[in-house]
């Protein structure tokens, strides 16, 4: 149980030596290795953090790009739809215009056709009516009708308007030639006398007349003095009727109902 002081000193020295050796061979390398590993782990963690941040950034960028792409796509789609609509509308309008033009043309053609048809019908009807009327009147014309015509003519001479009467008198006075009296049939002596009497009353005592016949008058009588004519005949009536009912092309009926109505008439 004694303390060996040499051993104490030797052990103290041994211990100090051991401390130095252990520091050199154990603690320093181990701590350095641990530090190194910690640094590596820290660096790796930092790398991971950076990569994560980078990935996040890229993800954000990608998301933004995606959103942009979607937006762009939508814009393009909208534009395409709008363009299509416009084009469709344009085509529709063009088609409508074409159809309208065609329809107008057809309508016009139809109208023209109808008008020409109407005109033809009217002309033919008119011609038929005139020919029938003329034929009937020619058939009906006779001496007795002629006497009635003369009577009507004398009556008209009596009731001539003042200006007409004056014009005829002036024409006769300028020439002084006998008045040309035309009738469809030869007038009887009494009729000639009546006519002369009426002329005399109209023109004065010097009146003289030359009687001729003209079947073209159909039934009637006319006075001709120095180119001025006073007449009453069925042929005149027919001419004026023909003039009054002749249908000009420009006044062709437009509506179908009108066309029908004219066709019936």
């Amino acid at each position: 149980m004694q303390i060996n002081w040499f051993t104490v000193i030797a052990q103290l020295f041994n211990f100090i030596l051991l401390v130095w050796l252990m520091k050199r061979f154990l603690y320093a390398p181990i701590l350095a290795a641990i530090d190194e590993r910690e640094k590596k782990i820290k660096a790796q963690l930092n790398d991971a953090k950076d990569q994560k941040a980078e990935a996040k950034k890229e993800q954000d960028e990608f998301s933004a790009k995606n959103a942009d792409f979607d937006q762009h796509k939508k814009a393009l789609m909208d534009a395409a739809i709008a363009e299509t609509q416009t084009e469709r509308q344009k085509l529709l309008d063009a088609a409508r215009t074409d159809a309208e033009t065609l329809r107008t043309k057809q309508a016009r053609a139809l109208e023209e056709m109808q008008a020409s048809l109407q005109t033809d019908i009217a002309k033919k009807t008119q011609q038929a009516v005139f020919s029938i009327t003329q034929k009937a009147l020619v058939d009906l014309a006779s001496v007795s009708l002629e006497s009635q015509s003369v009577a009507v003519f004398i009556e008209r001479l009596r009731h001539l308007k003042a200006d007409e009467k004056q014009a005829f008198v002036d024409a006769f006075q300028a020439d002084k030639k006998p008045v040309q009296i035309k009738s469809a049939f030869a007038l009887s002596a009494s009729q000639q006398t009546d006519v002369k009497a009426a002329l005399t009353k109209l023109l004065g005592a010097s009146a003289d007349g030359a009687f001729t016949t003209d079947p073209a008058l159909i039934s009637g009588i006319s006075l001709m003095a120095n180119g001025y004519k006073l007449a009453w005949s069925v042929a005149d009536y027919l001419t004026s009727l023909e003039k009054s009912i002749s249908v000009p092309k420009s006044v062709a009926p437009k509506k179908e109902s009108d066309t029908k109505k004219h066709a019936v008439n």
Partner: protein
Amino acid sequence: MHLSPDDVIFWQYGFITINLTLVTTWGLMVVMVVGSGLITRKLKTGLHISRWQCALEIIVTGINTQIEEVGLRQPQKYIGFIGTLFLFIAIANMCIVFPGYEPPTGSLSTTTALALGVFLAVPFFGVERGGVLTYLKSYLQPTFIMLPFNIISDITRTLALAVRLFGNIMSGGMIVGILLSISPLIFPVIMNVLGLLTGLVQAYIFSILATVYIAAVVSKPDKQT
């Protein structure tokens, strides 16, 4: 039967004595240094390391953590002293599992030497930390009346360190020896196992007390500022 390995003398020349304590200590030193050198020769800094390296790292970081928990802020500065203290005592005590082994810590000379090491280390670290004056002033704390008591405290605690370790280890060896003579079969084994535990606990107590003493000196300037 000898009480201390100091008594087994191999060679003596006057004051100089080569005894079993010194020889065992050298042997332990060689084993520790060579072992450490072999393991740390191929240290890896990657994530995959060898088992030995892992074991050493656990021991070193464990000691580091213990020092830090006691209150020393830079454990790597003190681990050389405190860690070696712990490892040496622990290995010396654990080797009792080998037959015929005499732990050097069972010698009062060795424990005195270790206690003297602590006795010298405390002012060394104290002076290194805050200078000579600051360290000497710590003996006058809290008042100058405490100066003799502080000095006595330093001496007695060194003595206590030496005797505590020596007593525990020597008594363990003695008990095994006595029990061997009484019942040579089962009890010595149990006592040996208990001796292993005692040895580890003593190593821990010795080193943690040394740490506390050092921390008491080193932490003072921090508290004052």
